[in-house]
């Protein structure tokens, strides 16, 4: 009843009828739909970041035996809005010695890279902006764009701490990219497709067919590597406050800083959404009998649970050191992900 795909279908049908009736070329319809999808995604991301920032503060507060924001709205729900307005009003400081153009574009790249990944994520049954047949490859490519923005920010700020932060993040993200990509391949092999939609559909209709069971190792590797990709504790070295003051974004203020902040939270949601899609059955309910709950609620529920796990990590663990981080990626995660790949290959071959 609350499934959104039927509604969208009817909307699409009505629009295309209208276009045909008035003799407008169909290409305009496609453009209109694309713009519509892009706007919806931006609105969704803005809203979810508003929620996630508040939620993170609440989760951290409750882990730490505090209340967290309580004054702005009921239980401080409007806190992020207030913060956002505050950041908008802040002076936009550009250091004199900064590389101005690169300095300006770095937060934009960070945000765009984080945003583009959402094009292929199926939010529910039929709720995907564009079902690319190479969806997984696309996502891996787009999410590694983040490193460029961090490097740009670190370099352009012309600040030693920022540079150290930028360099650290470059080394970190490039290293963790490898086990991350390989751990995704397990699910791709099981589903026999690179399309995110196909992978979700291959994991139905019962929960024991979710890939988190045959790919338990893959899920673990993916989640750890993705935490590192998103620069979150225990892998938040690029912005290690106690060592590098604030790392790559030390010189940023106002809305530019907010863009990095936004990108960080979008990335957190992205990695959880990808894990949900590839390992936890995406929008599929655990049992067919539970299908009366709309698919997008299942998707959001699973994703938000994983986001909660990420927050839990962050507020419990200390931070790794930079060489331990590298050793962990190359000497532990990478061999493990290869082993997972080989085991999956053998399994797929034997059971075929």
């Amino acid at each position: 009843m609350f499934e959104l795909d039927g509604l969208l279908m009817r909307l699409h049908q009505a629009l295309s009828n209208w276009f045909v009736a008035h003799g407008v070329p169909a290409v305009w319809l496609d453009i209109l739909i694309m713009v519509f999808a892009a706007l919806v995604l931006i609105a969704f991301l803005a809203l979810s970041v508003l929620f996630l920032v508040w939620w993170e503060r609440k989760v951290s507060a409750h882990i730490q035996d505090r209340l967290g924001p309580m004054r702005t709205g009921p239980h401080g729900i409007l806190q992020t809005l207030a913060d956002g307005i505050k950041l908008l009003q802040k002076e936009d400081i550009v250091p004199d010695v900064a590389d101005k153009k690169v300095y300006f574009w770095a937060p934009v790249v960070a945000f765009v890279a984080a945003y583009l990944a959402y094009i292929v994520i199926p939010f529910g049954k039929g709720l995907v902006a564009r079902d690319l047949n190479i969806g997984v490859v696309y996502i891996v490519a787009i999410t590694s764009f983040t490193v460029i923005s961090l490097l740009m920010a670190g370099w352009a700020s012309n600040n030693k701490y920022a540079l150290l932060g930028g360099m650290r993040s470059a080394a970190q993200i490039v290293s963790y990219e490898v086990p991350l990509t390989i751990s995704l391949l397990g699910s791709v092999m099981l589903a026999g497709s690179l399309s995110m939609v196909d992978i979700v559909e291959a994991q139905g209709p019962y929960f024991w067919r979710w890939y988190c069971f045959p790919q338990i190792l893959g899920l673990g590797i993916y989640f750890v590597a993705a935490t590192a990709e998103a620069n979150r504790t225990p892998f938040d070295l690029p912005e290690a406050e106690q060592e590098l003051v604030a790392g790559f974004n030390v010189e940023y203020s106002g809305m530019k800083f907010a863009m990095f902040f936004l990108a960080e939270f979008i990335n957190m949601f992205t990695i959880s959404a990808i894990a949900t899609t590839l390992f936890l059955g995406g929008w599929q309910p655990p049992l067919p009998g539970l299908a009366f709950i709309p698919s997008w609620i299942w998707f959001l529920g699973k994703t938000l649970f994983l986001v909660f796990v990420l927050m839990w990590f962050r507020w419990t663990y200390p931070r790794l050191r930079v060489d331990q981080l590298m050793n962990f990626a190359w000497k532990f995660l990478l061999p493990l992900s290869f082993a997972n790949l080989i085991l999956t290959g053998i399994g797929v071959y034997l059971l075929k």
């Binding site: 730490q64 150290l164 060592e243 790794l320």
Partner: protein
């Protein structure tokens, strides 16, 4: 290929000014680091940003007037700072202290040791990137501060211990609340250990990092948990007992290798030892009407000199007083633990990474007003 690449690449070491405004220098310490990438090649601590001439001020104040200044020497542990001055003046002047006051002093100093170590625990885990233990530590510190507030009305600079005793008796509800705190705090220490001690990331960041060999520690004048971490059971409370410490049973925890982990474990065990001491002192607390001996309105000490030291949370704290028989001291020299401990930072951190420096600095628990005075 590699050769031509090397010709075109330029490598250089660079200087980083860590501080005086930096999240993990715990105050206004400035460390000048010569870095080769992430590695520290040279480290120079610059102290003096918080110098307030406390030793010179002492020459212009009477013995009683100087007591509030001692609060500001180590503001995380004012009680031991008070006590050190009181003990030194009493030693030179031959002043008797009522029995009950001695017990109260020990209770307060040990409570303050717990509060001070809690700040260390919080800030060190914060330095290692773990935010949650910081807030846990401050939650428990709050209870200790409430106990102090109930006793003397102050929460930071207590000015409770006076020459010849303490300023006033504890309120009747103090003992119950204090015992409850001790009971509760033992479990809380277990909680801290659960979140940090067995955590593999924490172990990786602390084991074998910042090793301080014992001979170096002795030569540089380290004291307190810093030298005890290097496997040397040196504690003034046992070595030269003052107050009533010779009547109390407690152990001196020591480490084995002198790394960050050992210094961490020493302080964690000191939490438990302090609890033991407070319990014994509460049990033995004698009843008496007076907690401060009668002293002349203007206290004059006999001409002469004295050095006396106590075990403050960060190590040895001592006052050297020269008196010429006037109402003000002729000269005062303060020996603080942090200054000696800070000397150990450079030899421990050189060759390691900037992240290790932060961990080591957290583990020696330096407080800057004590370094600069």
């Amino acid at each position: 290929m590699m050769e031509t690449l090397k010709e075109h690449l330029r490598e250089e070491e660079f200087l980083i000014n860590m501080g005086p405004q930096h999240p993990s220098t715990h105050g206004v310490l400035r460390l000048v680091l010569r870095m080769e990438g992430e590695f520290i090649r040279e480290l120079t601590p610059h102290v003096g940003y918080l110098h307030r001439s406390i030793e010179k001020i002492a020459e212009n104040r009477t013995y009683n007037q100087f007591m509030p200044y001692t609060d500001r020497i180590d503001y995380c542990a004012s009680m031991p700072s008070n006590l050190a001055w009181a003990v030194a003046v009493e030693k030179l002047g031959g002043i008797e202290v009522p029995e009950r006051a001695e017990y109260l002093r020990v209770i307060m100093v040990e409570l303050n040791r717990i509060a001070s170590h809690l700040i260390w625990l919080g800030t060190m885990s914060l330095d290692l990137g773990a935010v949650t233990p910081f807030l846990y530590a401050f939650r428990e510190r709050e209870w200790v501060l409430d106990l102090f507030e109930m006793t003397c009305g102050q929460r930071l600079t207590y000015h409770y211990i006076r020459i010849g005793g303490v300023s006033r008796d504890i309120p009747p509800e103090f003992e119950k609340s204090c015992r409850e705190f001790i009971k509760d705090f033992r479990h809380k220490v277990d909680d801290y250990e659960a979140i940090l001690t067995e955590n593999p990331i924490f172990l990786g960041r602390t084991k074998g990092i910042g090793i301080l060999p014992l001979d170096l520690a002795e030569n540089l004048g380290a004291s307190g948990p810093t030298i005890r971490g290097s496997n040397y059971a040196w504690d003034i409370r046992k070595a030269e007992p003052y107050s009533i410490y010779n009547r109390i049973n407690f152990d001196i925890p020591t480490g084995k290798n002198g790394d960050v982990w050992d210094r961490y474990m020493v302080r964690i065990q000191e939490f438990r030892q302090s609890c033991r001491i407070i319990e014994q002192a509460l049990d033995g607390l004698p009843q008496s009407d007076t907690v401060r001996s009668k002293l002349p309105a203007v206290l004059r000490l006999p001409a002469g000199e004295v050095f006396s030291r106590i075990e403050a949370p960060r190590g040895e704290m001592g006052y050297y007083i020269v008196s010429d028989g006037e109402k003000k001291p002729y000269r005062v020299k303060i020996r603080t633990a942090s200054y000696g401990n800070l000397q150990c930072l450079a030899p421990m951190a050189i060759g390691l990474k900037i992240a290790d420096l932060v961990a080591i600095f957290g583990s020696i628990d330096v407080i800057l007003p004590e370094v600069d005075r």
